[in-house]
């Protein structure tokens, strides 16, 4: 990178690309060419910066200026002003929503201040399609160190001492898992990377693969060295085309550099990686199901034991870790277990990446030390609730997790505390909800997901979740009774206790946690037939306040079923019998005259 005087980094994550970051890149390059600066300024498309809310992001080095919400047409001005005249383009800088101050360096922004980036260390810094940039940031140094200076057992001991636990949801100690796989003798063993990120609302694994694919390849090779495996397989969702492309490029480059393949770095150790594609099944995140899917079968889980460490892919000892877990490994080897285990809480070491989304001001990908409180995440990093609304709940752990409330805000986030609070870490999805979200509907939403994704192999999950969903549906339609609430609770417990795999064992969590924390809301649905959040269509009605309506006709023109009547400049009326409750009128009304009753 040193040949250039200035570097312009553009976020090439999926979110920013959807907002035309490629066009920005092209325009910047054109503008640079027009000014004859090709030899001095380099434009690099990097992985995700994390601050998706303000995307597309453009960062200029060496002065670390962080531009937000950049549009393709801003490119010329950026080159003219910033690069040539050395003046920052003020209108594209981030403005602190609290004190209205303009901030140009990301490290002073509330969103980044509390973050420590280990797994995401290179995302937004390097060009993921250039192995040299990864190497320049200590890439493959850990693999070299392992092969040259450490025995497989000392590597395992280092990982054990670091306290690293699986980041895919289970939280099982990684070093221990490696040790099991290492102890089983076999002629062939496998290292598998689980990149089947199915939790809706979680996109950390994809961002790591898109922004820093080599970190995963390096860690897989290290894992292969410890357990005596020469084959690695990445099982990735077919829905992640960009991550697949970047991985393919990375594998090719690593082979060319002798970092994958035979006799790596002259050590005599052989290791190569291939890819397998998922085809859209949430249950394939479970390791036995994932292995069956890799074998070309339906992705159904099987009873453990035998664990994959004994009999996994093709019946051979197999170690499965998730993307984020792998991304931590090179740093632990380079900086040492004692550095890593100082970060985090007593039983959960290191950091965790969360995908912060929902009704929050700063949607994005964050990485914080374990033990950070929900309040810090939601208010300091997340910038609080959107549109000044009231915080209601935060859902962690996706469809397997639960909703946490106001009273949990000061709970330090780690594996054990989240379970004690009735939720779980999961893969790190964190969805914030406000007063307009109905918790019964939320539980129903998750059950809909589980019903669709249940593989059907065991009865409690296949049939039980379906019955749970029907009960919730009945309640949101206003036909529920108090007995139904007891039934919900009982059935949930049975499903948890009797299901075969992690999917069924956790799928009732959204129901149980909302019953526990929002029982009043369930009661008002079944007894008063009211949905305070105004989300349950059957229980609500749109009305126009004649005092506030000015008769602009905007609502009636936008009503898809023509159920709003009224003359110009006179108050309008909604015909409740024809209304399909789509909410288009309320959305269009500029006078706040339409409300839900």
């Amino acid at each position: 990178m040193e040949k250039y005087k200035m570097h312009i980094l553009i976020c090439g994550g999926t979110g920013c690309r959807a907002s035309a970051s490629e066009a920005i890149q092209n325009n910047l390059q054109d503008a640079i060419k027009a000014k004859g600066l090709e030899d001095e300024v380099q434009v690099v498309m990097t992985g995700c910066f994390g601050f998706c809310e303000k995307g597309p992001i453009v960062k200029i080095l060496p002065d670390n200026t962080f531009y937000v919400e950049v549009k393709p047409e801003d490119a010329e001005e950026l080159i003219e002003e910033h690069i040539i005249k050395g003046r920052k383009v003020m209108r594209l800088l981030y403005v602190d929503p609290e004190n209205k101050e303009t901030i140009s360096d990301s490290k002073h922004m509330g969103f980044y201040k509390k973050q420590i980036r280990i797994a995401l260390r290179n995302c937004g810094f390097i060009n993921p399609e250039n192995v040299d940039e990864y190497i320049a940031r200590d890439g493959y140094a850990a693999l070299g160190k392992c092969l040259a200076e450490m025995t497989p057992q000392t590597v395992i001991d280092e990982i054990k001492e670091s306290g690293l636990r699986g980041r895919g949801g289970g939280g099982f100690p990684t070093g221990l898992k490696w040790e099991f796989a290492a102890k089983n003798e076999a002629d062939q063993k496998y290292v598998v990377c689980n990149a089947d990120e199915g939790d809706p609302g979680a996109f950390m694994d994809r961002s790591i693969l898109e922004g820093d694919p080599h970190s995963v390849l390096e860690a897989m090779a290290i894992c292969g060295y410890t357990m005596g495996a020469d084959k690695g397989v990445i099982y990735i969702r077919a829905e992640y085309p960009l991550a697949i492309t970047r991985l393919k490029v990375a594998i090719k480059q690593a082979r060319e550099y002798g970092l994958l393949g035979n006799d790596i770095l002259g050590s005599g150790f052989n290791f190569d990686v291939e890819m397998r594609y998922g085809a859209g099944a949430f249950v394939c995140g479970e390791e036995t199901a994932l292995i069956h899917s890799m074998e070309g079968l339906r992705g159904e889980p099987t009873v453990k034991p035998p664990f994959p460490a004994e009999s996994g892919y093709n019946g051979k000892p197999t170690n499965v870790n998730n993307v984020e877990t792998f991304a931590n490994i090179p740093v632990i080897i380079n900086k040492g277990a004692s550095w890593f285990n100082k970060i985090g809480s007593e039983k959960s070491k290191g950091t965790k990446v969360f995908a912060l989304a929902g009704k929050i001001n700063n949607v994005g990908l964050i990485e914080v030390p374990m033990g950070t409180t929900l309040r810090e995440v939601i208010y300091e990093i997340g910038g609080g609730i959107k549109d000044g609304k009231k915080f209601k709940a935060v859902q962690t752990g996706g469809p397997s997790g639960g909703c946490l409330t106001e009273k949990h805000l000061d709970t330090p986030i780690d594996f054990d505390n989240l379970i004690a609070a009735g939720s779980m870490m999961g893969s790190g999805g964190m969805i914030v909800m406000d007063e307009d979200d109905c918790m019964v509907s939320m539980a129903k939403f998750y059950l809909e997901f589980t019903v669709e994704e249940s593989c059907g192999k065991c009865t409690p999950c296949r049939v039980g979740n379906k019955r749970l969903h029907e009960l919730l549906d009945k309640i949101t339609l206003g036909n529920g009774t108090r007995e139904d609430l007891d039934l919900l609770r009982n059935l949930s417990t049975v499903i948890k206790d009797t299901s075969l795999c992690g999917l069924g064992q956790t799928s009732p969590n959204p129901v149980l946690s909302t019953l526990e924390n929002f029982y009043d809301e369930y009661i008002s649905h079944v007894e008063d037939h009211k949905c305070a959040a105004g989300q349950c269509k059957a229980l609500m009605q749109y009305v126009i306040d004649p005092e506030l309506c000015v008769g602009c006709t905007l609502c009636s023109r936008n009503c898809p079923v023509d159920c709003i009547a009224g003359e110009r400049k006179e108050a309008h009326v909604i015909d409740a019998s024809k209304c399909i409750k789509c909410g288009a009128c309320m959305e269009k009304c500029k006078f706040n005259a339409i409300s839900i009753q």
Partner: protein
């Protein structure tokens, strides 16, 4: 389901795909991915040929095709509309957007309009949660979509 007759060139293409994976039964999912890429969907006839070539039962192939949501046995529309139903999009109103698409095009999820132009499907999280709710049509991504925008979006493709 109506039977279709595959042209010989297409049969040859399928045989070739299977061969590129050494006619290995364990490569079934990879073969299906390639076949769907080529044909757009996986009708019964395609599955029968794959079963024959890989020397597995048609029931096994059908079992795998129907297990995974990525595989489809019906052709998608010329402009496949996907509404993200990930949690982040859901809490920001994706359901209303979906309802509006269904209503305006008069087709349920998973089906294609009679003229073959549009099909509607739901997907789980494209990872652009900052733009929620998200709708994709082909390669194009629409962010921060509301029910009120639906008519305009459809219009873009009706010319």
């Amino acid at each position: 389901m109506a039977k279709i007759k595959l042209a010989k060139s297409k049969v040859d293409k399928l045989v070739e795909i299977c061969k590129s994976f050494d006619n290995e039964g364990s490569e079934l999912i990879n073969v299906l991915h390639k076949a769907q890429e080529t044909f757009g969907y996986l009708p019964a006839e395609v599955q029968e040929i794959i079963a024959r070539e890989l020397n597995v039962s048609v029931a096994h192939v059908y079992g795998v095709v129907t297990f995974y949501s990525f595989f489809s046995m019906v052709p998608k529309g010329e402009f496949p509309i996907s509404i993200c139903m990930g949690t982040a999009c859901y809490v920001r109103g994706a359901e209303k957007v979906l309802e509006e698409f269904k209503r305006q095009l008069s087709v349920p999820v998973g089906e294609t309009t009679e003229d073959g132009k549009f099909s509607i499907s739901c997907l789980r999280c494209v990872g652009a949660c900052g733009l929620a709710p998200v709708v994709t049509i082909g390669e194009r991504v629409y962010g921060r979509v509301s029910a009120g925008d639906v008519a305009d979006i459809i219009k873009e493709y009706q010319k």
